[in-house]
């Protein structure tokens, strides 16, 4: 199968949650608080895709699988999906929570640390999304990898953004933080090859 078709299929799979959300939106199935559903779902998927992106290296180390879509492309699609879901998340917030009012958004950022942290994570993702292509990889040489290590900080900030938003039950953000911690630790140690 040609590479671009594989790429297309994987992208399509990553777009599936957004597709389902759109379907629910059009069929009025988002529940009592549709905007909250949109925000939470896109936010959740941003974190899922960030954690999936971070899982690629440990998976390679442990299992050295034969990737159906080459490893670097799989990782790129996952990382870019995280960016797209984060953008959707921001757009929904800006349109429905802030009524497309920049002043209101700036006030919100200034007053609420969790909004600031979320914004910071999203803005840090922008250079990574732009330089995700092979052309940029070649141009930046060894700096490319240094730059893309920012994703560790971004994921941490993303989960922190979620943890600070929660009213009382920290179970989910702590679970994500634990997964993140494990994925980071797996980078520190030499892992056994399981395959």
């Amino acid at each position: 199968m040609p590479l671009f078709i594989k790429l297309f299929i994987v992208s399509l799979i990553c777009a599936l949650p957004a597709g389902l959300l759109t379907f629910d939106l059009l069929t009025d199935n988002l529940g009592a608080n549709p905007v909250e559903t949109l925000e939470h779902t896109t936010g959740d998927w941003t974190i899922y895709f960030l954690l999936l992106t971070l899982s690629i290296t440990p998976i390679q180390k442990l299992f050295s699988p034969k990737w159906w879509l080459p490893m670097h492309l799989t990782r790129r699609v996952l990382g870019l999906s995280a960016f797209v879901y984060a953008l959707l998340h921001l757009a929904i917030y800006f349109v429905f929570d802030m009524s497309v009012d920049l002043n209101e958004a700036l006030t919100d950022i200034a007053e609420r640390p969790f909004i600031l942290i979320g914004m910071l994570a999203l803005f840090l993702l922008i250079p990574l999304a732009i330089t995700s292509t092979q052309g940029w990889q070649r141009r930046l040489k060894r700096h490319w990898q240094t730059l893309h290590k920012l994703v560790y900080l971004i994921t941490f900030l993303g989960i922190l953004h979620y943890a600070l938003l929660v009213k009382a039950d920290l179970f989910m953000p702590l679970l994500y933080m634990t997964l993140f911690g494990i994925l980071m630790l797996m980078r520190q140690f030499k892992l056994p090859r399981l395959r």
Binding site: G31, A32, V35, D97, F114, A168, D169
Partner: protein
């Protein structure tokens, strides 16, 4: 009623409750029986409350507002005893056991006493349409059914030392899934100042949308204080305690910098996570402006005369 069916197989030696072994049809027949017996004048009146849920609309509290779709009010709930997700309370509603419910009123009063649901339903039940505003920034307009708390408190004759009222909700760690974790200091506690509790707007609530309260909405009896954020309106209340000291609510204990004792709806005082200037009515995509005291300023502003509402949040 003795069931002629085999008892259900049970794990352990828990005693079956009557409702567990009585098929619903038999149960309904029993109600039917009570009703016809009542009609025949065989029973005295208190049982009438159990057989029927009677209420009449109170014309004073029928604002010209569009009611929230009942589906939303019944399926989007904050009731951490049943779980922290909004969909948990309707999903686990059957875990809340409301049989033989009693409300104990104690503390600074001349006649502390225990009321059962028949006693509570014997008060004239009225339907009032109130705005309801959650601290999280969503709101609804719902027809509650109940009676003023003041009528209940009058029965126990509060003493001059009764400055505050504490409400304590159900504690049932075995059955309530949310109480297996110490998300809040269970049981849920809330409180009002005495004059707030005696205010005519403060409603002991037994029904919603023409029916008895569903479990996820705080059955069988809850509080509604329409000018305060929703969490002040404790659900499934078992104890009401009159005190001389300001009670510490569960949310105050969990995060004192975020949840104050008063928690009046106030668009000018923002919460660390949510601006309170606007609210989103359930079912709607766009926000609307939040009103001071949730639109009840004419009725309640005098309660807070001279108080700094930014400090007393």
């Amino acid at each position: 009623m003795k069931s002629n069916l085999k008892p259900l197989i049970r794990l352990g030696n828990t005693t079956p409750k009557e409702c567990d072994v009585t098929p619903e049809a038999f149960f309904l027949n029993r109600r039917q029986f009570i009703r016809s017996a009542l009609a025949a004048g065989l029973f005295s009146s208190p049982i009438a409350a159990l057989a029927d849920f009677n209420f009449s609309p109170n014309s004073t509290y029928r604002p010209n507002l569009k009611l929230t779709d009942s589906e939303h009010a019944l399926n989007y709930n904050n009731f951490y005893e049943l779980g922290t997700d909004k969909s948990d309370p309707p999903r686990y509603a059957d875990r809340l056991i409301t049989d033989n419910w009693q409300v104990r009123i104690e503390g600074e009063c001349a006649k502390p006493q225990t009321f059962d649901m028949d006693d509570l339903l014997a008060f004239d039940q009225e339907e009032r349409i109130y705005r309801f505003r959650c601290v999280e920034g969503w709101s609804m307009v719902v027809p509650w059914i109940g009676f003023p708390l003041s009528k209940l408190l009058d029965k126990v004759e509060p003493t001059s030392k009764a400055k505050y009222v504490e409400f304590i909700s159900i504690l049932d760690r075995e059955n309530l899934p949310g109480q297996r974790f110490d998300i809040l200091n269970w049981p849920y506690r809330e409180g009002l100042r005495m004059d707030e509790a005696m205010h005519p707007l403060t409603l002991m609530t037994t029904g919603l949308y023409g029916k008895p309260l569903q479990n996820q909405n705080g059955a069988p009896i809850r509080l509604i204080v329409p000018w305060k954020y929703g969490f002040k309106s404790a659900k499934s209340i078992v104890t009401i305690r009159l005190t001389d000291k300001q009670p510490v609510s569960s949310w105050m204990a969990a995060a004192p910098s975020e949840y104050g004792f008063y928690s009046n709806v106030n668009p000018d005082v923002s919460h660390p996570r949510w601006s309170q200037a606007k609210e989103r009515p359930l079912g709607s995509f766009f926000k609307q402006k939040t009103l001071l005291f949730n639109g009840y300023a004419d009725e309640v502003a005098s309660l807070y005369k001279g108080m700094d509402l930014k400090k007393n949040y």
